[in-house]
Amino acid sequence: MTRIVYFAWVRERIGKNEEQIELPAGVRTGSDLLSHLKSLGDEYAYALEHETAIRIAVDQEHVEHDEPLGSAREIALFPPMTGG
C-alpha cells in the first residue's frame, strides 16, 4: 500500500486529504499513477483532468511525470505552488 496525499484544489476536487492505495504492477511513473487514479471515479478524473498542471512529489521530493516512482512510501499530488 502506498500513501497518496492531496493538496489545495486537487484535495478539494478529490474530496479527501489522503488515502492508502495498492498500486497495480503497471504503475511505474507519475504519469502511470495519474492515469490509474483517473480511472477510479469522476472526482479523480475532474481533479486530474489537466495532467500538466499537476505536480508530483515522491517521499517529499519533486519528481517529473516520467520519473519512476520506485518504492515510494508517500506520493503527493498538488497544483503549482503559490507560497511566498
Binding site: E61, M81, G83, G84
Partner: protein, 163 residues
Amino acid sequence: MPAGAAVALTVRIQTQDFDAAAECAALTAGRADIGALVTFTGLCRDEGGTLAALELEHYPGMAEAEITRICRTAIERFGLSGITAVHRIGRIAPGANIVLVIAAAPHRHAAFDGASFVMDFLKTSAPFWKKEHRADGRAGDWVDARESDARARAAWSRQPSGG
C-alpha cells in the same frame, strides 16, 4: 566567507506572526564578520479592497525540507554567512506578514542575491498554496501560479554566480 566561519540556517513554518528584528538579531548575534543583511518580508495585499484574507495551506514535512534545500543551495552558491526563513500558514489578513527571508553575508551583493534566489525558488518549489477569501463574501479562488515567477526562477540558471 573565511573557512571555518559558522553558517547559521534557521527554517520555520508557523501560524503565528514573526518578528523580523528578533530574527535578524539572532542571525547576527556574537558575529562581526557579517557586513550585509538583506531581509525580505512578503505581506498580504488587500488587492484594492477585494480581499478579506488569504488562507495558506502547506505540505507538512516537505515544506520545511524544500525550503531547507533551497537555503543550502543559496548558502553554497553565494557564500552566505547564514539564512533565516520563516513562512506563515493559516488565515492571513491584508497588511499582515506572510514570509520572511534574511540572508547574511560579508558583502552586500551576496546578501541581495541570496535573499532574492531563496524567494524565487520558494515561490516556485516550496509546497504552499494560497486561497482567497473575498471581501464581498463570494467564494474565493485558489491563487494561480504566475508565469513571471517561473521566469524569475529560470533566470538563475542563465546567469553567472553572484557573490
